[in-house]
């Protein structure tokens, strides 16, 4: 039974993910703007966007059903629930008893399922092709993600995220070479799951470049705010997973104020570095043709497969 302090810290961790995530999007946008020799909007712009959208009226097509209206809420609740299982600066989450990493992936799948349904629901052609692309990507990405998780769970014994992070905080990456392969695979998968550049360009609304954006094109007002926010939370969850599984240096393993503060500061530094490097990568590559994307995912799968081979060495 977790103590009261642990429960409080667990709630603080999940609220931290939920409130910090738009800033991450802001940092990425700012970095991309600077690499393109633009000044770019402020790093707090995503917060202003969300506030602006919440104040606005919402337009809903009269052809749509309850799926269209409830899907942003299901999205936000599913991804917000997943945030409760992620350790940030304490190496275990007190809610980790309830669910493991497979549940997190399942919650993501639920959110994505309803996004796709909502895209089909308004019966616009954009929603249709967005849903079909999203379905293709998720069909390819999920086996790769499961294979990667498989490597990590084999190495650290168990699929519970708190267990994985606690064990990995004590051991070193150098002694487990299979984790580099898992890390490469995980990085590619994160780019795919969040619709980053070789997969899709989240900055534009051009017919050719949209994957995720096409399914949510019909939303406005509060619903759009919820959807943008939940995709930001999903991105931060995935980034903190890659950080806390593979480079958990400095994460606090017990409840004490100085350790928790250093853990929090180190996490912010690490996640910002990762976000900036992803933004740099995004400004270096062009978007790939849709049917070339399976090549990249095949690389991720092959990489995790070699990880499994290295584990059984």
């Amino acid at each position: 039974m977790p103590s009261l302090a642990e429960i409080v810290i667990g709630i603080v961790q999940s609220l931290f993910i939920i409130s910090f995530s738009p800033l991450m999007v802001g940092i990425m946008n700012k970095t991309k703007a600077r690499t393109q020799k633009r000044i770019g909007s402020s790093v707090f712009q995503p917060y202003y966007d969300i506030i602006k959208l919440v104040r606005k009226d919402e337009v809903v097509s009269d052809q749509s059903s309850w799926i269209f209206r409830s899907s942003p809420w299901i999205n936000f609740v599913a991804i917000g629930t997943a945030a409760f299982f992620i350790p940030i600066f304490l190496s275990y989450s007190p809610f980790g008893l309830v669910g493991d990493i497979l549940l997190v992936i399942g919650l993501f799948a639920l959110a994505r399922f309803f996004t796709m349904l909502a895209g089909l629901d308004v019966s616009s052609s954009f929603g249709g092709f967005g849903s079909s692309r999203e379905m293709m990507m998720s069909m390819l990405l999920e086996p790769a993600l499961f294979l990667t998780i498989f490597v990590v769970s084999l190495t650290y014994g168990g699929s519970n995220i708190s267990g994985i992070v606690t064990t990995s905080a004590d051991s070193s990456l150098i002694s487990h070479p299979q984790l580099i392969f898992a890390m490469i695979a995980m990085f590619v998968i994160i780019l795919g799951e969040t619709g980053r550049l070789p997969f899709g360009n989240s900055a534009t609304h051009l017919e050719l470049t949209m994957i995720h954006e096409a399914t949510v094109l019909e939303y406005s007002g509060k619903s759009l705010a919820l959807i943008e926010w939940s995709s930001a939370i999903k991105q931060l969850i995935l980034l903190s997973l890659i950080i806390n599984i593979f480079v958990p240096w400095g994460i606090s393993s017990s409840v004490s104020v100085p350790l928790l503060t250093t853990g929090l500061l180190l996490f912010i530094v690490k996640v910002s570095l990762l976000a900036v490097s992803i933004a740099f990568l995004e400004s270096r590559v062009a978007r790939w043709r849709l049917f070339r994307l399976p090549d990249l995912i095949a690389m991720a799968i092959a990489s995790s497969m070699i990880g499994v081979v290295f584990y059984y060495l």
Partner: protein
């Protein structure tokens, strides 16, 4: 140590996934740099100073001279000869097959009782994997120019193979092998130039037909 082997494998996969000539040449350059680092690591572990020279030679010849020579010799070739547009097995399947080849090489070397020596047990399966992947790349690619990369991967694998099993053959032989590779690359690229002039194509599938004009 196994960590460096993992990085070498990743560099090899970088070559397998590249389509264009200049792309895989760059990836080959990275692989050679990693190979030189691995060689230096072996030299450090065994303490034989001659291997450091081999590492330096690898760095200079394979990552600087061979790419330069290849680029210089093929500078007049047209771009469609240089890009692998239609391999026999698609690139995404060939990545998966390469992963299976790595698994196969680990399975094969499990049968050999070399467990006591850490260098052999680390790098022998990787060198055999490089050999198998290079062979697969040669068989898979259609354009004769891009088959050269398979040859280069095999050569890197063989270099690692001899190095792990013998802990450095004598320096004279190493120099001979390097000179051999350099000359081999030049001859093969000149041959490719002649083929492209005669047949107007570098597709090896088309070389089977006899021409009687």
């Amino acid at each position: 140590m196994i960590f460096s082997g993992a990085i070498l494998l990743i560099a090899t996969f970088g070559i397998v996934t590249r389509r264009g000539f200049a792309d895989w040449l760059g990836a080959y350059r990275y692989q050679s740099i990693v190979l030189a680092a691995v060689t230096a690591l072996i030299a450090y572990v065994t303490g034989i100073w001659e291997i450091y020279i081999a590492a330096g030679l690898t760095l200079v010849i394979k990552s600087i001279i061979i790419p330069k020579v290849l680029l210089y010799v093929t500078r007049n070739l047209e771009i469609e000869f240089k890009v692998e547009t239609n391999p026999y097995v698609s690139l995404r399947a060939s990545v998966i097959i390469s992963a299976f080849l790595v698994a196969l090489s680990y399975f094969l070397t499990q049968q050999i009782p070399f467990k006591s020596d850490p260098i052999v047990s680390t790098y022998l399966p990787i060198s055999i994997a490089l050999f198998l992947i290079g062979l697969f790349v040669i068989v898979n690619r259609r354009s004769a120019l891009n088959q050269v990369v398979g040859l280069l991967i095999i050569e890197n694998g063989l270099f690692l193979f001899t190095l792990t099993l013998t802990h450095g053959v004598s320096l004279i032989i190493e120099m001979g092998i390097f000179a051999d590779i350099l000359v081999g690359i030049i001859i093969s690229s000149i041959l490719l130039l002649r083929i492209s002039r005669t047949f107007d194509s570098l597709d090896v599938g088309k070389l089977q037909n006899l021409r009687d004009d």
